[in-house]
Structures are given as structure tokens and as C-alpha cells.
Symmetry: C2
Subunit: 385 residues, 2 copies
């Protein structure tokens, strides 16, 4: 096992702190039956671990997120993706808590993923990288938490795919976490969710620059396909109401329709920007692997579909947060989790926040979410120093 | 002006009646200011026109529809797309009414579109074809109706983009139609609708076989891009509930997850089928043009956004039908039209049908829709022979 600051393969020279990474030699045994060895987990920490090692909070990132939750992104130079939530004096208060955030296995920001070199061949894994699941991602995180000498996390917090990992933590390691905050997520991926992901994957795979996933060997990038995938996905992250409010049918830098196929409408320019800026920071194969991990997520599946049987009697306390206009992971899906927990008499609070901002609300300025997380963590922390 | 049965350029040998077509030499003046000449309108008719020419009903097709509303499709050999609605004894009863359905301008089933030869160059139009609007489509239909010697249509009926054309008929030619039935549509395309269309267009244009729209000259077809566009669009045609009910997380011909990128889930196989079967019958450039026409549709725009000003005092009587789970053209958008008509004291009935089948409900077995259309047309027909 080796630990060292690590330059990300995507970067020539990092623009900001590229964080830490630990490489494990002992294999990660995956749900597929395959093994990954060695494997690296890249991560960031914020704040200080107390002497009792009892103030650690793990944050799990979403599909296109990474470990740079509260510090500048080393590629884009932009602020961390959850600076409104995490930092000194923020709801997840780094003056008080030791915050860990790790890039998921299969990702492209330093944790082992398809863009890395397969030690068996000396070539990039590409699509020979084994499929990983949400549980595999959590297994890798558990190794990191063990490595940091933390026996019990104070909390695990995350939204969207991060929320799936939070649920998986509660299911896999209930004795290792006091409190969990799954936000804007579900205990299973729906048919519609899978459908949107499959469209994105097909767009990537249809790009001739994808080269069956071996594009690194060809010196190409399936950027057009990845941009289309991102554009389609982005529509699902926002509500119809918010799009209408923000863009409506407003034109982009013109007085009248152009009668051409260039973007006439602001919503088109906005989508183009979302696509173009994404391909600069994200690996297309990682996008395939991580979307597939989400598709495969169905927490109750191995319990015959009975979600309540997933959670043990020693379940951590739950704070489930959903958003009224989230049509990707609708409040009803979040409520299902609360009902399952009620059935085993777990401690659970459920909050549905009224907003028109859709799924992405968890990344935005939502005072009720901030107050809820702050209050819940204060309560869970109890009499911590 | 010439009229003749016409082989469609997409066909070697038609498997069924390829219908009629009329070519107009006098130009079609388009909203863009450009002109199209000569231009052909391909169409089908069912039933017989009465002596008074008072029993004609025009049906307008949706984005990927065509004139084969109630007879076998000459390429696929499949039954017409609205055989449940149109035929002897059906709600639009061809024993009683003379039904006309024309392929839209810009389409690919015989009416002049981007795959046709530009007489000025002797080469296929490709993207040099002028952008057309919903109003241009309706202008072309009006020429056909005039050609058939019909001064006043009994009704114009259509769903989705067909419904947009119905609204445009009421706005452009209120004196030429007695009754209109816009189904599952809106008076404007929303930001979300434009966004989904732009994703589809980008998928097509990203396909290297698109060749800037000149793929006919290269002997290629951007089938992968068009399939992705169709898959993305198809998700919007069905409700989340219906997808969950029909497919859920059921696996396709396998007992367990494959841990590969091949389709594991039935919803994936279903989408693949939707994409693959579509590219055989549809032209990619036509898809670009027709989606753009829908994006441009905003009936109230030239009236300062006041929809009620669109409709004159001699507006035809309206029967507006919407579906509760249609998230592409939600009932609220349909209701806006009814309110605008109420404001000018037009005769309007509004029906919201409870169904979980989403937007595509207008093509499916919806007894309440059938009964509503039948009753409304009987009433509109009054004492017709």
C-alpha cells in the first residue's frame, strides 16, 4: 500500500491541489466476481480528525462529480462542487468535522478507472476494465476509511448517485456509520433512468472516435458522442418549469429566428455549453462505467424486492431529503426508502423540499436543505468535542 | 400542376399502395422568405367525397408520421398509424367522411423534402433545403385542399405536431374549416421540448456519415446518429409510470446481469428496437427539418404573446384533447389554448383523459378519445347526407 500525492492522468500540470491518493495491493473483489489489483483511491480531506477519530464525515459524489467537493478543481480551476454545503461554518462544518471525499472506482479523477493502465497488459484498460457497481464503489471507500484508521464514520452524505452510495453504506456497513443523509436518490434505478443512460451510452459508442473504447491508443476522444450524452442527461437534471422560467423561448444574441440549424434559442446555447465544457474534464469510458453502475443499482434485489429487509436493526439514523420537482428521482422514490425504514423501526426523518429547480437542487442554494443537514448533523454529533 | 401516382424515392418497389401526389409549379412562399418551386404534396385519401364536397376531413400527422394513416405502410408493410381512429365504422368513419392525409413539406414520404433533387442544381437539396415552419406545412396542405376543389373542410384533426398544424389551420384559414380537433399538443414548443430536439439533431450531425447533410452524395446514411435521436425522443413519448409498468427492471432473455455493456434490461432492447426500425423508414435530414419546424412553432408570437388574439371571431369549433400523463405536451399547455378560445367566446370543449400512457396515448387504444372524437364529429357534421 502506498500513499502519495498523485498527478491525475488527465492533467499536464494541475491548476490546484490535486489531493491525495492511496494505492492498495490487496485486490478489490467486485460484484462481478472479478478482482481489481492494485487499485488506487484518490481523495481530498478538509478539516482535522479529532483524537477519538469520531468526527469524520464521508461525502459521496454524483455521476460526474469528484473528490473536489470544497476546493478548486485542478483541471477547470472552478470552485468545488459543494462549497455551499461544505467548509468552515457551512452546514457540513470543516471547523468541526473531518470531511473525506473520494473519487469513485471507475472514475477519471485519480481513482482507478478505465483510462488507467492495466498492469497485466501495460495498455489502458478501456472496456476491458471490469464493470463496477455502487457496492464496489463503497467497498473501495471502506478500504480508504479503514486506511485512515476510522472505525466508525459520524456520517455519510451524498446526493443523486452519491445518495445511492450513502444507502449502500447503510446496507453494507451499518455498524460503521452513525448517521446517513441520502439526498435526491432512489433505492433502485427506474426504467426511465436506465433508458436515458442507455441513450447517452449509445451516443458515445456511436462516435467513431470511441474505437471500441480503445481511443487512447488512437489518440482520439469521442467528444461529440460524450457531449450529446451530457446534453441529454442535463435535461433530466432540471425541471421543465425551471427551463421555462430561465430560458423559455428567448433567443440567443439575435432579434429574430435565423431559419438555420445554428442555435437560435438560449436553451440550445446553454446545452451546447454544458456538452462542450464537460468533455474537457471527463473521460468517456468512465461515463459508460459509472452510468452502468447506477443502472445496476437495486438495493432490494437480493432481498426479493423487500427494501425493509435491507436495513438491519442496528441501522444508522437516516435523514432523507428530496425535492418536489425532481423527476429523475421523484420524492415518491425517496419516500419508499423512508417507509422501508419505518417498517424496521429505524430512526428516520424525511424532508421534501418545495422547489422548481429539479434534481440539481441538491447542488444549488436551497436554504431548507442546508438547515436540515446542519441540524441533523449537530444532533448526530451530539456531545462531540 | 401534375398529378400522378408516385414512387417514393426511399422505395425500390412499394409493398403497398404508395398513394397519390400532386406537383405544383406555382411557388410555395415560405415564412423564411424563400420560395419552394416546384413542390410536390404526396397524400392518401379514404372514403368518398360527397357531391356537396362538405364531408372532407384532413388529418395531420406527427413528427415521424406520414400519409398512411389507415392503410399499410409501403416501406414497412405495417398497418397505418391510426387504424384505430380512421376507417369504416371507426370514430373518423370513412363510410361517411372523405379523409385526406398528406405528407408534410420537408418530409420523406413523397412530399418535397431535403432528400429530393433541387432543380436548380440537379443534386439533392440536403441542408440547402429551406427551413420550413408549421405554417408552411399548412400552406402546402391548403394548396392540396384547393386542388381537390374543397372550399371548406368539415374538420382538421391531428395529434402532437399534427395538433400544431390543426391549430395553425384554425389561425390561418378559419373560414375554411368547420371544426378542429387538436390532440396532445401545445400552442408553442417549450424550452424542454426544444432541448430534447436539439439533442437529437446534435446526435445526427455528430455522425460522420451525415457529411454536413450531403450523405446522399457519399452513399452513406447517418443511421447511428438518427437512432440515438429516435431513442432519446421515444423516452419523451411515454410516461415514467408506463415504462415502469411495462419494463421496470426486467432483464432481457437472461437470468442475471451480464456485467457487460450489451443490453441487460428489456427497456434497453426496446429502445434499440425503436432506434433500429426507425432508421429504415425515415430520412435523417427530414428529421432535422421537421424538429426545427416544431421548435419554431409559437402561435401567439406575432400577436405579442396573446394567444386569444390568434383566433378570430369566426373561429371553427374546437375539441381539445389532452392526456394526464403527457409530459411532452402537458394538459396545462392544452388548457392554455382552451382559455384563449374562451376569451374570444369561441365554441370549445376541453377533455383531459386520465391515462398513464403518456404522449403516445393519442396513437393507442383510448376509448374515451375515440368516443370524444366520434361524438364531436357527428355533431359538427350535423345534417350531412
Amino acid at each position: 500500500m502506498t500513499e502519495a500525492p498523485r498527478f491525475l492522468h488527465a492533467m499536464k500540470a494541475p491548476a490546484a491541489d490535486a489531493g491525495l491518493a492511496v494505492t492498495f495491493d490487496a485486490p478489490l473483489v467486485l460484484d462481478s466476481g472479478k478482482q481489481l489489483a492494485p487499485f488506487t483511491v484518490a481523495y481530498m480531506t478538509y478539516g482535522a480528525l479529532n483524537a477519538a477519530k469520531s468526527n469524520a464525515i464521508l461525502i459521496c459524489h454524483a455521476l460526474t462529480g469528484d473528490q473536489f467537493v470544497a476546493s478548486d478543481h485542478p483541471i477547470t480551476g472552478k470552485p468545488g462542487w459543494w462549497t455551499s454545503m461544505v467548509g468552515p461554518g457551512k452546514p457540513i462544518d470543516t471547523d468541526r468535522f473531518f470531511v473525506i471525499c473520494a473519487n469513485v472506482i471507475g472514475g477519471c479523477m485519480g481513482s482507478t478507472g478505465p483510462a488507467d493502465t492495466d498492469p497485466a497488459t501495460g495498455k489502458p484498460y478501456g472496456t476491458s476494465f471490469p464493470l463496477v457497481t455502487i457496492r464496489d464503489m463503497v467497498r473501495a471507500q471502506k478500504r480508504l476509511v479503514d486506511h485512515l484508521g476510522i472505525e466508525k464514520l459520524l456520517a455519510v452524505v451524498g446526493g443523486s448517485m452519491g445518495g445511492m452510495q450513502v444507502l449502500q453504506w447503510a446496507a453494507s456497513y451499518p455498524g460503521c456509520v452513525r448517521a446517513v443523509v441520502p439526498i435526491a436518490c432512489a433505492a433502485r434505478h427506474s426504467a426511465q433512468n436506465i433508458a436515458f443512460h442507455e441513450v447517452g451510452r449509445q451516443a458515445i459508442m456511436a462516435d467513431p472516435d470511441w474505437h471500441n473504447g480503445e481511443y487512447q491508443l488512437y489518440g482520439t476522444k469521442p467528444s461529440k458522442g460524450l457531449a450529446v450524452a451530457r446534453m441529454a442527461a442535463h435535461i433530466t437534471y432540471v425541471s421543465e418549469m425551471a427551463l421555462q422560467r430561465k430560458f423559455g423561448r428567448a433567443l440567443q444574441n439575435r432579434e429574430a429566428l435565423s431559419f438555420q440549424f445554428t442555435p437560435d434559442f438560449q436553451i440550445e446555447s446553454y446545452l451546447h455549453y454544458q456538452g462542450a465544457s464537460f468533455v474537457d474534464r471527463f473521460d468517456a469510458n468512465s461515463y459508460l462505467y459509472i452510468t452502468r453502475a447506477m443502472d445496476y443499482f437495486d438495493l432490494a434485489e437480493e432481498h426479493g424486492g423487500h427494501l425493509s429487509e435491507v436495513f438491519h436493526l442496528n441501522a444508522p439514523r437516516f435523514c432523507i431529503i428530496s425535492f418536489s420537482s425532481d423527476w429523475l428521482f421523484p420524492p415518491a422514490e425517496n419516500k419508499r426508502i423512508a417507509h422501508a425504514l419505518n417498517a424496521v423501526a429505524a430512526q428516520v426523518s424525511f424532508v421534501e423540499i418545495k422547489t422548481d429547480k429539479g434534481h440539481d437542487a441538491f447542488l444549488l442554494d436551497e436554504p431548507e436543505m442546508f438547515a436540515t443537514v446542519r441540524g441533523f448533523l449537530n444532533h448526530a454529533a451530539g456531545d462531540l468535542a
